[in-house]
Symmetry: C2
Subunit: 318 residues, 2 copies
């Protein structure tokens, strides 16, 4: 059985794309990195546990992908360019097949977004992955939650509810199974390119992990405003369009695990923003607007919409 050092060298010390900013990577007490002058450092950390964040039967390739994807999604939500990450991996046993599959999922996404593994830790215990991702942004571009203003237009970067529907399909075999929903659950694509472009326009931004309503409420609370959602404009994928309307909306509004960006654009910059989005061949969907005169969230038919987020210490929606 290999030592910890061999484990890191075998599975996680893959050749890097040349990156002069890494002075010392894996193998010393810590990594030494050069942050370019004028850039600010963006840091996020997420833990990923079997049975909590993904079903136990999830393939290791998907676990490797998603553990990094949720962190890249946080960087995207700040408008940052991915740079480096550390991996803390706790494994019940040394399993070559598992490690090969996991590291391939991780590496494929890392190389796609040009983010470099610079260190970490491996330990024996219940399966758990903590990734700390670092990105770079121009100070004036960093996207916070707190800047949404009256009349700002609300957008999301993709269809909502697919991952939650995918999870329901895994848990309830009687439901019609759509592979695209399960794919969205296992392989969320972090909206890094959107985030960097949105940084030029948005007054607030976050990524949807707890469900549209719960995460929108975070923006509203931080920005001290309310919002109106146009429910007929919430983007739904083909499988969700085939479901009954109430179920589909429940997945889309409260499901979570979407990892799409939710952001606000000033009304006077809306046209310019939409033109720019089209030029970049990116897709965004307008779903409503900010209203400083209301509290919380209402539909355009004046129905109050109540967030139901997920709380790890309750274990159910609350």
């Amino acid at each position: 059985m290999p030592s910890e050092f061999d484990l890191i060298n075998t599975w996680f010390n893959w050749p890097n794309t040349a990156d002069s900013a890494v002075i010392t990577g894996i193998g010393d007490d810590a990594a030494a990195l050069a942050v370019p002058a004028g850039k600010q450092l963006i840091v996020t950390s997420d833990t990923f546990i079997a049975g909590v964040h993904f079903p136990h039967e999830t393939k290791p390739h998907a676990i490797g992908h998603k553990a990094l994807a949720v962190n890249l999604s946080d960087l995207a939500a700040m408008g940052a360019e991915p740079a480096w990450f550390t991996l803390a991996l706790t494994l019940p046993a040394y399993d070559e097949t598992w490690l090969g599959d996991f590291s391939l999922g991780l590496k494929t996404l890392a190389q796609h977004h040009n983010i470099q593994l610079i260190g970490g830790d491996t330990t024996r215990g219940a399966l758990s992955i903590t990734i700390t991702a670092m990105g770079l942004s121009l100070p004036e571009k960093a996207l916070l939650r707190s800047g949404a203003k009256h009349d700002d237009q609300l957008y999301v970067t993709g269809t909502l509810g697919d991952a939650a529907a995918g999870l329901a399909m895994l848990q309830q075999p009687l439901l019609t199974r759509y592979e695209s929903c399960i794919e969205q659950l296992d392989y969320p694509q972090p909206r890094v390119q959107h985030g960097r472009m949105i940084g030029d326009y948005a007054t607030s931004c976050l990524d949807i992990s707890d469900g549209l309503l719960a995460d929108l409420q975070h923006i509203l609370t931080a920005s001290k405003v309310g919002a109106v959602l146009d429910l007929v404009r919430i983007p739904l994928s083909k499988p969700l369009q085939h479901m009954d309307k109430k179920t589909a909306l429940r997945f889309a509004l409260s499901g979570g695990d979407d990892y799409e960006l939710l952001f606000s654009i000033p009304l006077e910059r809306q046209k310019e923003f939409e033109r720019h989005i089209q030029q970049q061949s990116l897709i965004c969907y307008g779903i409503g607007h900010i209203d400083q005169h209301i509290r919380g969230i209402i539909s355009s038919e004046q129905q109050p919409l109540t967030p139901k987020g997920y709380n790890h210490f309750i274990g159910t929606n609350h």
Copy 2:
């Protein structure tokens, strides 16, 4: 029961010492940080699991201290000044007494070393703590493992073997119990001040976590040299001086969990270095020297000394 957000705000969002480098801390998708021009970023990540890294009966205050201390020790070993850290905390249940005690241990050490908590994640599961610590150093001062040269003098920053002896005392109640050893096991003091001073002189440095011999071997391998240890100069605390010599040396050479720095100083700078150490009222102990003509480690009596490090995937010394 509070939500995750309340949990972070209640226990971990303590008032910071004014630090203009933190642009956005806890509460957004990620933290935004300003790295001063000319400094390089040093990053390390360590996981800390009950039953693996500390006995299950360890007090939460000590767990909070040690989880951060082992990361600060890695920063110290790079000669870096502590700056920021993220905390990924997985807990079996929401327990106010536990959280209060844990956060106090963490906070006390964090404030002592002026390192700021800037984000993280809380999850339900088997008790596990992953901290990613970030520090700053001048590029020419970063201490690697790979620079040790022939005739360099080897030093450590404190007595060795106390933590390993403390663990043995907890596991074998028949042994004479010395509280100072158990204190050293629970509350290692990261040698941050030493590390920053040593950065002006040392050709290699690391912190001793796996035992003196195993960690010295890391320097020797990276630097492609051998070393001679003068066993009578290995610093031992009063309790270890009272033990039989063989047991005490076993703890000191192979025990691990010391979190003292081990480093090499060029022979021609030895006097200057020792004068500087005294002026700063710091303590270091000379324990041997580098020899490029031998392989591995020998004692000054020509006895080969074999590293026995700890491997999490074997679970015993190997």
